[in-house]
């Protein structure tokens, strides 16, 4: 059984439990509130999940989530046309991803360290870029295109679905996806089959940086205020979302669907705790427990699946060997 299925089961259980605690939890109003902010987190989690499947980490996504929109806003204040500022801002995300990948691959150091350094550097750059206090949001930026509030959902939900669709096709249906899984599963084996594993990893680093910046842009566009503290601790929450959704820390395992469910689960957990009139300070305790329980549950489900397969195989082998002994006995009798 696939690990993301156990995540989905947990999702249903948790949603049901909060619904019992307060039936307004699944009211259109609450879904509208939660799903208004969730797409940003899902987009980051998708980038992290793909990178983790290729066998690497990115701790700098929270900082990139702030740096990219801050760059856009400041560029617009400098008189740069909004769409050009958006393009330049997004290329900062790409550049950070490239630097993360380059340092990790070229110097052969763990991506955990390379991107930990980048976490501090990018956050520092964001604060420096504010020049002391957060700048006002320039309304020449086309923010409605990304965050317009429809009846229940925001435009960001559709952007997220677009990202998830393209990423899903790439990861699960294209040969590039096959290379990403094989690179994360066993780098040595993949390169012996002619996969350029360094290029694959570099692609995933860049994609992750780009998506983190894109998601940060959506958040800034939604709240219409570029804050240097935006995305603080988001790197850990994104890894948590991926892991809750069945992405392996060791690479080679995971799905886009799982990472998205993981991110949604975290946001509804937050909302559910508030709706159940529990002190909001318990959110982190809840998240911590969720991470541990979900990974234990995932591991248990996967092991159970494997054991069933092995049991079947063992039984088949036994039947085989019985047949063989009967056959050879028959032959000796003749």
């Amino acid at each position: 059984m696939r690990p993301e299925i156990s995540t989905f089961i947990m999702f249903v259980v948790i949603m049901t439990a909060f619904f019992i605690a307060n039936d307004k939890f699944l009211s259109p109003r609450n879904i509208r509130i939660v799903m208004g902010i969730t797409p940003e987190y899902i987009i980051v989690a998708i980038g992290i999940a793909i990178l983790m499947i290729s066998g690497e980490f990115d701790l700098s996504v929270g900082s990139v989530f702030a740096l990219v929109p801050m760059t856009m806003v400041q560029l617009v204040h400098q008189g740069i046309p909004p769409w050009f500022a958006i393009a330049l801002g997004l290329s900062i995300g790409i550049a950070v991803g490239f630097v993360n990948g380059f340092i990790t691959i070229r110097f052969g150091i763990p991506s955990f360290i390379a991107t930990l350094g980048m976490l501090y550097i990018a956050r520092s750059l964001t604060t420096v870029a504010t020049g002391g206090f957060p700048p006002p949001f320039p309304h020449s930026l086309p923010n409605e295109l990304f965050v317009f509030q429809f009846e229940v959902f925001r435009a960001s939900l559709f952007w997220m679905l677009g990202v998830a669709f393209v990423a899903g096709i790439m990861l699960h249906r294209s040969n590039l996806g096959n290379w990403i899984y094989s690179t994360g599963g066993d780098t040595g084996a993949a390169s012996s089959m002619g996969i350029k594993t360094n290029n694959v990893k570099m692609f995933c680093f860049i994609l992750c940086g780009f998506l983190a910046g894109f998601a940060g842009m959506i958040q800034t566009f939604r709240i219409e205020a570029p804050l240097p503290s935006q995305g603080y601790l988001l790197e850990l929450e994104s890894i948590a979302a991926a892991v809750i959704g069945g992405v392996s820390l060791f690479g080679g395992v995971g799905t886009i669907f799982g990472a998205a469910i993981g991110a949604i689960l975290i946001r509804f957990l937050e909302s559910g705790i508030i709706m159940a009139r529990i002190d909001a300070e318990w959110f982190r305790a809840g998240l911590g427990s969720l991470i541990i329980i979900s990974v234990v549950f995932n591991t248990w489900v996967v092991r159970r699946g494997e054991n069933m397969v092995h049991k079947n195989q063992a039984e088949e082998n036994e039947i085989d060997s019985k047949k063989n002994t009967q056959k050879s006995e028959g032959e000796t009798n003749e």
């Binding site: 096709i169 249906r173 294209s174 040969n175 590039l176 996806g177 096959n178 290379w179 899984y181 094989s182 599963g185 066993d186 084996a189 993949a190 012996s192 089959m193 002619g194 996969i195 392996s248 080679g252 395992v253 494997e306 397969v309 092995h310 195989q313 082998n317 060997s321």
Partner: protein
């Protein structure tokens, strides 16, 4: 140059930081046979296969493939000619399905942009099952992850992969190491099947009893030299054991 020899080596020499790892080695490998290459650890077996698979270049000597002299610069070059090497630790990704493993790096795609395209999963699954059936490996589904297979079955998948991509020569480096007796027999059956399909195999092992039953020709190495090169009908297991132990 007789065309019935698919590979012919002449006076190969290889030094590793002053150590003479391969000494004037000459070898003829006939088409559609199983050649057992045996020798104790350090006899030069690995050096020889690294040269034949294109991983290392010899310091002197010649290699002929199907009668033409070849000088490999990479394993990819050897693979393109049809020489595929299967190393002890198989080149499979444990978490991935059998079909995806068989096609790693050589996926069948459609709607391609450059080298990236959508995988034709159904056609790859079908081809994977056929490739497995060709080596008499009957597994339930091409979607089974490789980590749910036994060691022998994994070797079978690797052999099926080499077969599918039309290898002419398969070099197997200790394919039966760390396998149970039953699994070893499975692998030996795969190798026997290769001959029928017109594939020459070079079976490297230090365990004579594994290769003896299926080999047509046996080649014994010691201290970087070939000390015996015998057709199976001209020798017996006692003589070979004696050669292996006493050099």
């Amino acid at each position: 140059m007789s065309s019935e020899n698919i590979i012919e080596c002449k006076d190969l020499n290889k030094y590793y930081s002053g150590v003479h790892a391969l000494k004037n080695l000459s070898l003829k490998i006939k088409k559609d046979t199983v050649v057992g290459l045996i020798g104790d650890n350090g006899a030069g077996k690995s050096t020889l296969i690294k040269i034949l698979s294109g991983a290392h270049a010899p310091d002197s000597g010649h290699i002929y493939f199907e009668g033409n002299e070849v000088k490999f610069k990479s394993t990819k070059e050897a693979m393109n000619l049809g020489i595929e090497t299967i190393y002890q630790y198989s080149a499979l990704i444990p978490q991935m399905s059998i079909a995806r493993n068989i096609f790693i790096g050589r996926e069948q795609t459609t709607f391609s942009l450059g080298s990236i395209g959508l995988m034709k999963s159904k056609s790859m699954d079908k081809a994977a099952m056929e490739a497995l059936n060709d080596v008499e490996l009957h597994l339930r589904s091409p979607e089974t992850p490789v980590n749910q297979l036994s060691g022998g079955e994994r070797q079978g998948v690797v052999i099926a992969r080499a077969m599918y991509f039309k290898s002419k020569v398969l070099i197997l480096d200790e394919p039966t190491n760390h396998l149970s007796v039953k699994e070893t027999n499975k692998v030996l059956r795969f190798v026997e099947g290769l001959k029928k399909q017109g594939v020459t195999s070079i079976f490297i092992t230090h365990n004579l009893s594994h290769v003896y039953p299926i080999a047509d020709h046996l080649c014994v190495m010691a201290r970087g030299e070939k000390i015996a090169d015998l057709a199976k009908e001209d020798t017996n297991i006692d003589e070979l054991t004696d050669l292996l132990v006493n050099g």
